[in-house]
Symmetry: C2
Subunit: 322 residues, 2 copies
């Protein structure tokens, strides 16, 4: 039997989405020093991709209410990464329905970005297909991130995969937005995604949330079943329960190109201090929304209220509403 915890698969690539997913808990208001520290840690740790933020529409999101990482304007990116003279590839996420992608995503030759990750729900797949084509036409690598897959039916998923297989996307990502999936469901989804991805030369990725303390375990599970793209964040930073912690993922992977010490350094110097100002992690309310396969918004509201310690009240409310 293979022992993947001893050896490694060279094709496996890791994406850091600390700033992008983490931006959802502080309105993307990271200062340059923080972003630069995460960038440098990614470079030093041998991580393959770093996601800098969103390409949100300025018509829909007022620029003065959010930090610049919601928009990833070229000037803001270059202020931190310069021309990015490193092997680390940079990505931005573009949400279907929330991005002026025709105008705001520049031709690749004018951008320091390498990858556009297109995020969408089942009902937005047609726009996502157009966005992927547009990004690839402009010179980027593009990925397809079908969100909230735990709420989609098998038929919906299959139809999306059929459409996505025909796009020039490099990767289709299994996204457990609500942190509700167990390992066996991850296995089923990864295998299903691979059925469509492999024949068209695409990779499958995994993006897990930590509501049930399964983000790392499910990421390993996806890797074992053939996912070659894994998302993680420093200290598990991310909305609500957070994401797969990079420090756990890199500790697991055995490719000697990865180095874990720079990750401990940025945890110590930047993430730990941040954790004293803003909360994320697998708190009980997030666990409950994960168990119930719900969006974490009710849990975020409860955590932000003065009823944050009233677990039973929260549970009763959600169960009654089900």
């Amino acid at each position: 039997m293979p022992a993947p915890w001893i050896t490694y698969r060279p094709e496996l690539k890791v994406l850091d989405c600390t700033i992008r997913d983490g931006g959802l808990i502080n309105s993307h208001q990271f200062d340059d020093g923080f972003v630069r520290a995460v960038y440098q840690a990614c470079v030093d740790a041998g991580i393959d991709y770093m996601e800098m933020g969103y390409k949100a529409s300025k018509r829909l999101a007022a620029k003065d209410q959010f930090g610049c990482w919601k928009f990833c304007d070229e000037d803001d990116l270059r202020r931190v990464v310069g021309d990015n003279p490193t092997p680390l590839k940079l990505s931005a996420m573009a949400d279907a329905g929330k991005t002026d992608w025709r105008t705001d995503i520049l031709p690749k030759k004018q951008s320091v970005l390498d990858v556009i990750r297109v995020a969408f729900y089942v009902h937005q797949v047609s726009e996502a297909v157009d966005m992927i084509k547009d990004a690839v036409d402009k010179g980027y690598e593009a990925t397809a991130n079908l969100m909230a897959v735990s709420r989609a039916t098998e038929l919906e998923i299959a139809q999306c995969l059929e459409l996505l297989a025909e796009t020039p996307a490099s990767t289709i990502v299994v996204v457990d937005s609500f942190g509700s999936l167990y390992a066996e469901q991850i296995e089923i989804l990864v295998k299903k995604y691979l059925e469509y991805a492999r024949p068209s030369g695409k990779q499958v990725g995994i993006h897990a949330h930590n509501n049930q303390q399964l983000a790392f375990a499910n990421t390993i599970e996806a890797i074992i079943h053939g996912a070659n793209r894994a998302d993680a964040t420093m200290f598990g930073l991310g909305r609500g329960a957070g994401n797969c912690p990079m420090e756990l993922l890199i500790g697991f992977l055995r490719n000697p190109k990865f180095r874990i010490r720079p990750i401990y350094q940025v945890l110590q110097d930047y993430l730990l201090p941040l954790s004293r100002q803003v909360e994320w992690g697998p708190y009980v309310q997030y666990m409950i929304t994960g168990q119930l396969n719900q969006h974490p918004r009710s849990a975020m509201a409860a955590r932000a209220s003065d009823r944050r310690d009233s677990y039973v009240e929260f549970y009763d409310k959600l169960i009654t509403e089900e």
Copy 2:
């Protein structure tokens, strides 16, 4: 393919070891109200077993330096549970080398305990065999908990299992003392344990630690591969990184005999307040000892020191000592 997250296995039984494993972080000094609340939550939640503490030798451990749950004297037990007129079975853990088991473990008819769980390292297996026989002779159910299995060789494990298969133990437990095992290793161990346990009519159990945020995931993994006894603790309370959280395990299991609401209640009323006085959970230092397959004692020392935030220093120290 079976869908164990939809249905359930009636043979599967859950053991709460909140007071026993949790006692390792506060010298077993729980007040009666706390123990009674956990006991009542177990009864109300439909949990099968509750472990009340250790049967430690009073020659080796001074009674005035520890709470009574290190010794589980009959008077102390009955002060909380009376004659335990409930379906909840009660256990105590007896460590090889640290228990005056011949005298301190009373005949079952004089005790409110139902189960003696014998904990031991590889080199103590002979005493463990005697302890198991003694407990069963006295009228108890007995289990064999081979600790720190991640540091034992396959040959050692096989030899222990061979000996244990011949004892009257009801259960042999896979114990990941250092929280270092990944799901695939859990699978291999559970299958190996079952090879020896099944022919002699024994069950296999799982006791996981949360150093790498894998305690719940590994518990599920063990269950999927045939473990029918699962340990967990309220809020994941336990030494160092803690254990598999009961609230996650019960949320996963689909047997309608289990009820999760009483667990949220005890979390809210007792465990959350405790978490403000004493620390446990998958902090970075515990993750590092887990990744390195080491006893968590260096991590506990670091967390208790004024260098608790110096992750890199801790990592460098451990790597140098390796």
